[in-house]
């Protein structure tokens, strides 16, 4: 049994938008990482990961964010994170200094502009 998570993909202005919902923990982190990497075609400039609808992220999920960012950087692509200001995840994201790997935006529009 793995934690329930879903990724919905979308193309917007040369970027890939991935909406992550559900829960990501050590049971499904690798799967989520592989899906995110596979969603990126060479011509895309950025992967915008929207965690507005994500209920739970643990350290394994945070590790995924760093890993994805690193791999995309090697392909000259960028990871951007969308997280609303009131998200309960905010402290963990800040605590683990995710912003050093991926810029964090308050809304999708900001992330795309």
């Amino acid at each position: 049994m793995t934690a329930p998570a879903e990724i919905v993909l979308d193309r917007r202005d040369g970027s890939v938008v991935a909406r992550l919902s559900g829960e990501v923990d050590m049971s499904n982190a690798t799967y989520v990482r592989d899906q995110l990497l596979a969603s990126m075609p060479n011509e895309a400039l950025a992967l915008v990961l929207d965690i507005t609808g994500t209920r739970y992220l643990d350290s394994a999920a945070i590790e995924v964010l760093f890993d994805v960012s690193r791999r995309l950087a090697r392909r000259r692509q960028e990871l951007r994170l969308v997280m609303p200001a009131e998200s309960p995840l905010r402290r963990v994201i800040e605590l683990t200094e995710v912003h050093t790997a991926a810029p964090v935006f308050g809304s999708l529009e900001e992330a795309l502009s």
Binding site: D25, Y56, D58, E63, F66, P88, V92, T96
Partner: protein, 759 residues
């Protein structure tokens, strides 16, 4: 209604008797009997005036009580009738002074004008015979006397001399034939040309031996311009021992004759037709004996026509079928009702083959003349029925297997609720239905419950049930409102190719608050079994799914009292044709209230009490649910050391933390730290086998203590993300301690809850 023709024939016969010199007393006696029969009278009496003219002597009669005949009555018309208690009477004078003949009936208005006319006729014959008996010596010329008599009757009469020449025909005869005959002609001249020769031959033969003459022939009929069949009877007549000729009567038998002829003709045609028909056909007489079987029948049996006549055909019936089949035939024959039966008949191959045989009474005019029947070989169908039954049973088994495989074998364990379900397939013979139940945990933490019943039976219903069940799982996950879930599924069903109809109860339960919201689409209401009694949740009712589009679906809400259980069921549990639904629901509520606390027991008790023993007629699905009380001071868990256990751990923690009153942010952070520690324990476990870890959480005085214990050895740093995990734990908890034990590691964490913690 009495038969006028029969009355006329009787009168003619009486007249003939009188003229052939019958003894007067015997004639009186016969006349009374004949009158009683023809008039359907209860009594007939012949009364003779006494010599002094002061009384009436009862000479003879029919149906009279003992003691009346021989007695003298006062001269008082109607006296005897009154004495006998008659409701209606008629009478006629016999001769000019002899007396009267009267007929009585216990029935009001029994006699008709025609009856009165007939009795007048009888009286006329008796009067003439009486005069003759009284004045034999004076009345030498019996012929004159006869003419006088004969002309008073409507019957056809004639008389001949000793040579056989007609010397007299009466008024009735002349009216019938048109009045051309006079004395001196042969009566046969009025016969139909085709009948003349035969009639004359019979007449001559009878004459030569001076025997009774009897002949049926067609006599000219003036009124219709054609001929009518008559029965002519002639009797030799003697005067003083000397043969003086014949006296005769003719009776119109045209109706009977033509009917018989038509019958014979149609019979011939019918038999010819029947022989060319491929079906097996037969006829019987009025006693049920076979009079005809067609070629089709003989081809089947391989017997001859003669062998099948009478009763012997029954010998071909299979010994096991003969008795019941003959019994039903005898019964139908007795009542002259239609008959049909299926039985095995010996075929020309020597085998018995099933036939279906049907006979209907034949009515010609208004007369029952026997039966006509047809039989067909149904052997293939009959043996096919057996095979079909097998196919049907196989389908039933498949449907049942499908049904069971579509139902959750075990209900998924859902944190915070107890669940039990039962499914009972309908009785053998009744095809499997489309009942189902399901439970799922919604993303918002509420539990969705559904029971439904797809209309129809068999494989199709079972398959539709599977589709609907999945649709509920899908929409139930997405839509929060029960009515909206039901409405969406209705739209889904209405837009589908194979339209199904189903009744559904869809209910969402909040485990923490006991709040329920439900929508009952044509489905019986859910039952709440509260500590103080059971009652139904009314409201939220609407039409079944698949019944209307657009349709309005309603929902209702209620709060379950603490300690309540909920019972959802399909109507197979409560529907029974012989009892109103209301009563059955009451029975259900009573049974549920009396059942034990455990949900499995509740289901069994309800089934036993409401359904009774044996398989139910329709299939039944029952689902029981009970929110469990929330532990808010302490939980203690032992979980398998594998990543998949983390999601389960989070569910348990979520309920517990919710109960402590922690904020959403606190809940997340505490959950995260405990799970980080648990994740560490999982990684340390020695292989995947049976390793476990323990989590104990305490909440007291606003402070939360969590202990995660494993059986592996703690490693401080293993990769960057594990380091991050520990950093998270340390940062989000007030106090963290790692203790190494024998063969394991223990992480103890503390955090105050409800305070505004600084970052």
């Amino acid at each position: 209604m009495r038969d006028r023709a029969s009355q006329q024939a009787a009168l003619a016969e009486l007249g003939r008797q009188a003229l052939s010199g019958a003894e007067f007393n015997a004639l009186l006696h016969d006349a009374a009997k004949v009158a009683a029969r023809e008039l359907e009278a209860d009594q007939v009496a012949v009364l003779e005036r006494t010599h002094d003219g002061e009384g009436m002597l009862a000479r003879t009669g029919s149906g009279l009580p003992d003691g009346v005949v021989g007695g003298v009555l006062p001269v008082d018309a109607g006296r005897l009738g009154r004495d006998l208690g008659a409701a209606s009477s008629i009478s006629a004078e016999v001769g000019s002074r002899f007396g009267v003949i009267e007929a009585h009936s216990g029935e009001q208005d029994h006699f008709t004008a025609e009856d009165a006319e007939f009795l007048e006729g009888v009286a006329g014959v008796l009067g003439a015979a009486g005069e003759r008996a009284g004045h034999e010596d004076l009345m030498r010329d019996s012929e004159a006397q006869f003419r006088e008599l004969a002309d008073t009757t409507p019957a056809l009469m004639w008389m001949t001399d000793a040579e056989g020449d007609v010397t007299f025909v009466n008024e009735g005869w002349r009216r019938f034939t048109g009045g051309t005959e006079t004395a001196g002609v042969t009566f046969a001249s009025s016969a139909h040309p085709d009948d003349r020769e035969a009639t004359v031959r019979l007449w001559t033969e009878a004459m030569s031996r001076r025997e009774e003459f009897r002949c049926e022939y067609r006599l000219r009929h003036a009124a219709s311009g054609g001929y009518r069949w008559v029965l002519e009877l002639g009797t030799p007549r003697y005067s003083g021992g000397e043969f003086v000729g014949y006296v005769g009567t003719a009776t119109d038998i045209h109706e009977r004759r033509t009917m018989e002829e038509a019958l014979r003709a149609s019979e011939t045609i019918w038999r010819e037709l029947a022989d060319t028909a491929p079906a097996m056909m037969w006829t019987t007489d009025t006693d049920g004996a076979i009079t005809f079987v067609n070629q089709g029948w003989l081809r089947f049996t391989g017997t001859t026509f003669q062998e099948e006549m009478g009763e012997s055909w029954a010998l071909g019936v299979h010994p096991e079928d003969a008795e019941p089949m003959l019994a039903s035939w005898e019964e139908a024959l007795k009542a002259r009702r239609e008959w049909e039966g299926e039985y095995r008949l010996k075929h020309n191959t020597g085998e018995y083959r099933w036939i279906h045989d049907r006979g209907v009474p034949r009515i010609v005019g208004d007369r029952f003349v026997g039966y006509v029947g047809t039989a067909i070989d149904i052997h293939e169908r009959k043996t096919m029925e057996g095979r079909l039954l097998e196919v049907y049973e196989r389908e039933h088994r498949i449907a049942e297997t499908l049904q069971r495989s579509l139902l959750p074998e075990r209900l998924p364990p859902i944190e915070g609720v107890a669940l039990a379900a039962r499914y009972l397939p309908g009785a053998r013979g009744a095809a499997i239905g489309g009942d189902w139940y399901d439970v799922l945990e919604r993303p918002d933490g509420r539990v969705a419950l559904v029971v439904g019943d797809v209309a129809g039976h068999g494989l199709r219903a079972a398959a539709s049930m599977g589709q609907l069940r999945n649709a509920f799982r899908a929409y139930g996950m997405v839509e929060a409102s029960p009515a909206e879930v039901v409405a969406r599924i209705n739209r889904l069903v209405m837009s589908g190719v194979d339209q199904v109809m189903a009744t559904v109860l869809y209910l969402v339960l909040d485990r923490e608050t006991g709040e329920v919201a439900w929508s009952a689409a044509g489905h019986p209401p859910p039952l709440v079994i509260a500590p103080d009694g059971a009652r139904f949740l009314e409201g939220g009712r609407s039409v079944p799914i698949g019944a209307a589009d657009p349709a309005v679906f309603r929902e209702a809400t209620a709060i379950l009292p603490p300690g309540s259980s909920l019972l959802l069921y399909t109507d197979g549990l409560v529907e029974r044709r012989d009892e109103p639904l209301e009563e059955r629901l009451n029975e259900l509520a009573e049974a549920a209230a009396a059942a034990g606390d455990e949900l499995g027991e509740l289901c069994e008790h309800v089934i036993a009490k409401v359904l009774g023993p044996g398989d139910p007629r329709d299939d039944v699905a029952i689902l029981a649910v009970k929110p469990l009380p929330v532990a808010d001071t302490e939980i203690s868990l032992t979980l398998p050391a594998e990543p998949g256990s983390l999601a389960q751990l989070r569910r348990r923690l979520a309920r517990f933390l919710h109960a402590t009153g922690a904020t959403e942010l606190e809940q997340y952070e505490i959950t995260l730290t405990i799970c980080e520690a648990a994740g560490n324990a999982i990684e340390h476990a020695y292989g995947p086998g049976d390793a476990t870890y323990e989590v104990d959480v305490n909440f007291e005085g606003g402070e939360l203590t969590a202990v995660v214990r494993d059986t592996g050895s703690w490693r401080d740093k293993r990769g960057e993300h594990r380091g991050r995990g520990l950093a998270i734990i340390k940062d989000l908890m007030d106090d963290v301690a790692v203790e190494r034990e024998d063969g394991g590691t223990l992480v103890r964490m503390r955090r105050r809850v409800g305070e505004d913690r600084a970052a």
